[in-house]
């Protein structure tokens, strides 16, 4: 089982560039999430989705956008990258609400210079 797959694993962006972080899950989970993890700060929720076509903001959504056209895919878009977006990004999916039983991808380490 692939579980939750994120690409790329690493990326360096210049200030002002844009990119999309890809996330795919093969477990038919309705609930999907994007988190960012900064050193010593735990995980912060950026956006989440409760099903195809339905997304909502989390705790730290500014500078990001998401879409959910299929159950499997939940891409995260960064527009006009800023140094404050340097972080490790994790996508997760779960079959229960509240993030219960969530499976995480391996993460994307993004550096904005």
């Amino acid at each position: 089982n692939a579980g939750v797959t994120q690409t790329p694993k690493f990326r360096i962006l210049k200030i002002g560039q844009s990119m999309t972080l890809q996330c795919t899950q093969d477990m038919n989970h309705n609930y999907m999430y994007w988190y960012r993890q900064d050193p010593g700060m735990g995980l912060k929720l950026i956006y989440y989705s409760v099903g195809a076509g339905i997304t909502d903001k989390g705790e730290v959504p500014n500078g990001y956008n998401v879409s959910r056209s299929t159950t499997e895919d939940f891409p995260l878009r960064l527009e006009l990258a800023a140094p404050s977006q340097t972080s490790v990004y994790f996508c997760a999916s779960s079959y229960l609400p509240e993030g219960r039983g969530a499976f995480f991808g391996q993460g994307t380490r993004l550096t904005v210079v």
Partner: protein, 114 residues
């Protein structure tokens, strides 16, 4: 904003010792989860507790949910080097908006020295 305080932040112990990690809040949670994360990897779910006072065991790991569902603890017996990692607790609020939003603690970084 719901807050989860984890303590200690760092813990370095010898192989074979016992340890307890705490996760505390002033808020009530409908469920609380514990994850372990290794460097360069995503968090891996260890356990979910949902009932106040609940105790769950996973081999040498014992998880407890407080009676009031505001706190939890993770106890490891006879720690082994393979237990090394970042332990995260995460809670879902009991009511109100944001029921899809897990709140994560900042984590306890455990090092078990052979």
């Amino acid at each position: 904003t719901q807050l989860l305080e984890q303590s200690p932040q760092f813990l370095s112990i010898q192989e074979g010792e016992n340890l307890t990690v705490y996760c505390n809040s002033s808020s009530v949670f409908s469920s609380l989860q514990w994850y372990r994360q290794e460097p360069g990897e995503g968090p891996v779910l260890l356990v979910t507790v949902v009932t106040g006072g609940e105790v769950k065991k996973l081999k040498r790991l014992t998880f407890q949910f407080g009676d009031a569902r505001k706190d939890s603890s993770l106890h490891i017996t006879a720690a082994q080097p393979g237990d090394t990692g970042l332990y995260l607790c995460a809670g879902a609020p009991a009511s109100g908006a944001g029921s899809y939003q897990l709140t994560f603690g900042k984590g306890t970084k455990l090092s078990v020295i052979p």
